[in-house]
Amino acid sequence: MHSHTRTLLTIVTEAALEGTLVRDLDRLHAHGYTITDARGKGNRGVRDAGWEASANIRVEVVCDAETAEAIAASLQEQYYDDYAMILFMSDITVLRPQKF
């Protein structure tokens, strides 16, 4: 089995941003993404998903390292000041590299 290294970029942010974020990801050449509903706490306080305004989403993007950095830089610039958001990256191994 041939395996290849890619980057997993994880974003946790406000659910209100989902539509915009998904458009950004397309524009920034992500080949795909996975979203789950989440709640949490951070600098901007507790976001307990009790209703729309306090819900989070957790978005994962598998891509190559450059794309991940480009996406991270772009999101950080656009959203970090005004939105509850964290970003982190890790190295992963994938089986079908052409997909990502």
């Binding site: 209100a16 998903a49 009790g50 209703w51 729309e52 305004a53 306090s54 000041d81 005004d82 939105y83």
Partner: protein, 314 residues
């Protein structure tokens, strides 16, 4: 006698303040708000079918003006007295120029249980009041800059859940008429107040969570959250009276004016004026104004309306 739906709000608020583990699943809250929005729209639509549309045009224009005016008045107060940033002042002003469907529903329940009639096209005015303040808010925050993507703002505003369900309900009610709707009455009309009770239970829980932010952001927000609706209700009462609305209709218009949005406007501001702090506007609109209106405001606005009509006649 106090309406039981109000008691559900109190129950939720108390449970929330005591940090109870009571929580409604988000899906139940959404279910309740979908049914309420459709139901309000349907009722409006039924009645729209009964009267010529032309008659309503003056009222519709007046109500759009009301939304614009209230947010334009709130802005300088927030900016100068409240010392908020431009974005925050614009965003809070937009919340108060727009309306809260939950408050409207409580007012309808209030009048209903006292058998006070009101003009049936009120849901239409509700829809009309929802939108203009949002546009004002964006312009106040940004200026009339070229950069604002009005296309996507319009999409956000007119195709948001609230407006689509309200207008969709109005359209279906208008097209099907009272007889056509008989078969769906048990869900949308008979259960209305029960579902409103569940909705208010959850609103109580959500309101209780605003207590923390209020403590942090101080007394100005509290004063504004009570003073602004009282002022807006006066304007609304005057406008209702001037437009020749009935006592009930005037009370509803005053309530609409006094209410502050906590669904459509927060969502729109979050996308269009992201630098505004959503905690501030929600703390005021949900933490102060909503409970004030629901517990004390509506009876006051009703009394105002009675007074205005008596005064005018006498």
């Amino acid at each position: 006698m106090i309406d039981p739906v109000i008691l559900f709000f109190v129950l939720g608020a108390v449970a929330g303040l005591l940090r109870s583990e009571l929580r409604l699943p988000a899906a139940v809250y959404e279910f309740a708000s979908i049914v309420l929005l459709l139901s309000i729209g349907l009722k409006g639509g039924i009645e729209l079918a009964r009267q010529p549309f032309g008659n309503l045009l003056p009222q519709m224009l007046a109500v759009v003006a009301l939304g614009l005016a209230l947010s334009l008045i709130a802005f300088p107060v927030l900016r100068h007295l409240g010392r908020f940033t431009r974005a925050d002042a614009a965003s809070i002003a937009a919340h108060y120029g727009s309306v809260s469907v939950g408050t409207y529903a409580v007012a309808v329940a209030y009048l209903g249980s006292r058998q006070i009639a009101f003009e049936a096209h009120m849901p239409l005015l509700l829809v009309l009041l929802e939108v203009p303040a949002i546009l004002v808010g964006i312009v106040l925050a940004r200026g009339l800059s070229r950069e604002t993507r009005w296309g996507s703002v319009a999409h956000e505003v007119f195709l948001g859940k609230g407006i689509v369900l309200l207008l969709g309900g109005v359209f279906i009610g208008w097209a099907a008429g009272p007889d056509g709707l008989a078969s769906i009455e048990p869900l949308f009309f008979d259960l209305f107040k029960g579902i409103l009770a569940l909705f208010l239970l959850e609103m109580g829980l959500i309101t209780a969570k605003q207590a923390g932010s209020l403590r942090r952001h101080g007394p100005f927000l509290v004063a504004f959250g009570i003073g602004m609706p009282l002022f807006s209700a006066l304007v609304g009462t005057w406008l209702g009276w001037a437009l020749g609305l009935s006592i009930g209709g005037t009370a509803i218009l005053a309530t609409l004016a006094a209410s502050a949005s906590y669904i459509a406007v927060p969502a729109a501001m979050r996308i269009s004026v992201p630098e505004a702090n959503p905690t501030l506007s929600l703390a005021a609109a949900l933490g102060i104004t909503f409970p004030f209106n629901v517990l004390l405001g509506i009876p006051i606005y009703h009394a105002l309306s009675v007074w205005a009509h008596t005064f005018a006649r006498g």
